[in-house]
């Protein structure tokens, strides 16, 4: 989770405390605003995972969800679904490789 969010909200090593405050606030406020209780968030993740695995082979048992503030009046709901690198890759092969670049 933190890894994913770190990439999403552009955390860097040289981040100042003000930048950290801004990043953390922007993250927490979209969650405050959507006001989705943790159990419903978990249920939503499970359903999204079920739907996606109907069509493609998913690596791992869970997905990460983040809400990202965006321009104007909308926020983006972003889901990170761990995918097998190639369809023939065995499921277990990617499990400890969670540092993959999202953009690659």
């Amino acid at each position: 989770m933190s890894n994913f969010l770190g990439r999403l909200f552009g955390r860097s090593k040289e981040e100042s405390s003000a930048q950290a405050a801004k990043r953390r606030l922007q993250f927490v406020l979209v969650h405050d605003r959507i006001n989705l209780p943790p159990d419903l968030m978990t249920a939503m993740k499970e359903e999204i995972l079920q739907v996606i695995s109907k069509y493609v082979q998913v690596a791992g048992e869970s997905i990460d969800i983040a809400l990202k503030p965006s321009e104007g009046d909308i926020n983006l709901l972003i889901a990170e679904v761990p995918f097998a690198k190639t369809l023939s890759t065995p499921r277990g092969a990617l499990e400890d490789n969670d540092d993959d670049d999202l953009d690659a």
Partner: protein
């Protein structure tokens, strides 16, 4: 039409609502406006002492609402500005003594004789907050550049919008420029990026605010004070009913 009701509120307590109300009240009076400030923080009477009017209280807001006193009897005239009055909060009674409808009624009466009715609201989302919100034409949210205060401000902004009372406007109080420059305090731009409201005032953290409260003479009466100047800028926007955004004010060289 008549006077305008301006409610000063916040999510978190202690961010500077009372300081802001007192200073805006005085700054507006200095602009020759007829002003009444109402302390709606029932049980936590504060505005009187910050404005130096604490020794002259006979009746309070609850006395007026419950009919024991006429509005005129509860209004305390400022020593220096004869067109500035305070209606103090009750110190002892519980908050349910006043209802939102009471506040609307009271403010409608006051609109006839005043240009501005400023309400010092309690923080947060309890009953007293709704009382202060009910009659408001303009809502000014005070926050500090700190994570907890900004988060709580967002919550209150959401509530105000949900009740179609907006748009709320933001005053960022207690900014320490040296910390902002070092990257150790959220800047005004950071805060406007985070909160979806117009920023209408940036007030520096200033020791003079505390000494001014000590003596009951709000800092805006000191012409050379930076925080006092910030409050005067906000008051000008308020008086013009335009509430210039801070970026515009900077362009205009304020």
């Amino acid at each position: 039409m008549g006077g305008r009701v301006v409610t000063v509120t916040s999510g978190k307590g202690g961010v500077g609502k009372t300081t802001t109300t007192a200073n805006l009240g005085l700054a507006l009076a200095r602009l020759d406006k007829r002003v009444v400030v109402i302390d709606a923080d029932i049980g936590l009477r504060n505005l009187d002492i910050v404005m130096g009017l604490e020794n002259r209280i006979v009746y309070d807001l609850v006395d007026v609402v419950e009919g024991r006193a006429k509005v005129k009897q509860a209004m305390i005239k400022h020593k220096q500005f004869p067109d500035l009055y305070l209606i103090p909060a009750a110190q002892t009674r519980d908050k349910s003594a006043v209802s939102p409808a009471d506040m609307v009624q009271l403010c409608n009466d006051l609109r006839k004789e005043f240009d501005f009715i400023l309400i010092d609201s309690p923080a947060g989302i309890e009953r007293g907050f709704r009382n202060a919100m009910a009659p408001a034409d303009d809502i000014l949210i005070v926050t500090n550049p700190e994570v907890s205060a900004v988060r709580d401000a967002d919550r209150v902004i959401g509530l105000i919008e949900a009740e179609n009372k907006g748009p709320a406007r933001l005053i960022l109080n207690r900014v320490k420029m040296d910390l902002v420059r070092k990257g150790d305090m959220l800047s005004a731009d950071d805060v406007t990026d985070i909160l979806a409201v117009k920023l209408i005032g940036i007030v520096p953290d200033d020791e003079a605010v505390v000494s001014a409260s000590n003596s009951g003479t709000p800092v805006t009466l000191q012409d050379n004070s930076r925080s006092g100047q910030a409050f005067r800028n906000i008051a000008r926007g308020c008086a013009a009913r335009t509430y210039l955004s801070c970026s515009l004010m900077r362009k205009a060289g304020c």
